[in-house]
């Protein structure tokens, strides 16, 4: 049990460092890093506080503390994937609308240039 909690704490710290480094290098925008930082922070706190983990286990009624930790982690990451799917869908829609607009503007521009040349 202790080893599991230590490994989880270690992984959370690695995730925190990785996300912060990525933000510093501008690989991840600050607004998209917050979810990762909160998730990693929550995992770190849970893995370091047995009382909190036991309380969580009591609330959920699960038989096992490690199972509680992993279900919590799984739930958090599923929510994050959902959030990022929503963001990606919005970005894709915006991207397609912009690409169409660029293509149409280019079309109008070429038409105007050829009309100007003809006159």
């Amino acid at each position: 049990m202790d080893r599991l909690l230590n490994v989880t704490a270690g992984m959370s710290i690695v995730l925190l460092v990785l996300v912060l480094a990525s933000v510093r290098r501008a690989h991840i925008r600050v607004e998209y890093s917050v979810t990762w930082l909160v998730a990693a922070g929550a995992m770190l706190v849970l893995s370091r506080s047995r009382t909190l983990l036991e309380t969580l286990r009591g609330w959920t009624g699960l038989p096992d503390t490690p199972l509680t930790l992993f279900l919590f982690a799984g739930g958090v990451f599923l929510l994050m994937f959902f959030r990022f799917s929503v963001i990606i869908s919005h970005l894709r829609d915006d991207n397609i609308a912009l690409a169409q607009r660029v293509a149409i503007l280019e079309f109008h521009l070429r038409q105007s240039i050829s009309t100007t040349h003809e006159t």
Partner: protein
């Protein structure tokens, strides 16, 4: 006339020439979905105007770009013909005539309207039967060839599609979008020709994905428009009450 094309160097020029031949005077716009071959030069040499996409958008994004441009340029009717040469441009005048004379918003070139179903494989035929059965109660009228991309639309439909058009596998969802807005569609029999160049990208796995994707899209559209309708009816119901209070 809009012709979406992606890597159709071998077929697009003959499609454009054939469209010019059967619909003289009609503008032909080839929407190039970022082809890596000579599609643009072939289409351009055949006399088409080109709308090149800045990156690959997929069929729906490409067709919608054509609809948007046509709407902005003030066209009253637009007919879509695929750039792979499977749609026979000899059928275009009939689609156009039906579009003008019937007053309906969309005319579908149907390979099954005369029960021949020419040029259709067994798997596709089964898929079409399945979608016919699914769509019958939703559309409130039978549709023989819901997957046909050989369609003509009027300005009302153009207005709707230029604002909202399904991006992947658009044909079936587009029908639902129109029906939910109480627009009318009809079918005219057409012949489909076998593909002469290039290869179809349809695989068994993609067919399965297609079915799941389209079913989901159809039901999402049904729910979306029904919710809007209920909201509109609720607001309409509230209208006179607030009017009395205000008076």
């Amino acid at each position: 006339m809009i012709v979406p094309a992606f890597n159709e160097e071998g077929a697009v020029a003959s499609v454009v020439r054939s469209v010019h031949e059967h619909m003289p005077g009609a503008g032909v716009l080839v929407i190039d979905d970022c082809s890596t071959d000579g599609t643009v030069s072939a289409a351009s040499a055949a006399g088409a105007r080109i709308l090149p996409m800045p990156h690959h958008l997929g069929l729906g994004g490409c067709v919608q770009a054509g609809y948007k441009l046509a709407y902005e340029l003030g066209y009253a009717y637009v007919i879509r013909v695929d750039g792979d040469g499977q749609h026979d441009p000899r059928d275009i005048p009939r689609i156009f005539e039906r579009l003008r004379s019937s007053g309906c918003d969309m005319v579908i070139g149907s390979r099954f309207a005369d029960e021949t179903g020419s040029g259709t494989g067994v798997v596709r035929r089964l898929g079409i039967r399945f979608f016919r059965a699914v769509l019958r109660p939703i559309l409130g009228q039978p549709v023989q060839d819901p997957t046909s991309g050989f369609v003509g639309v009027n300005r009302r439909a153009l207005d709707v599609f230029s604002r909202s058009f399904p991006l992947e596998y658009p044909e079936i969802e587009a029908l639902v979008v129109l029906q939910r807005r109480a627009f009318r569609f009809e079918e005219v029999p057409v012949k489909m020709r076998p593909r002469t160049t290039g290869r179809s990208s349809i695989t068994p796995l993609k067919s399965l994905y297609y079915i799941v994707h389209v079913l989901l899209g159809v039901f999402v559209n049904v729910l979306k428009y029904d919710r809007r309708l209920h909201r509109a009816q609720r607001e309409k119901g509230r209208g006179p009450i607030s009017g009395v209070g205000g008076g």
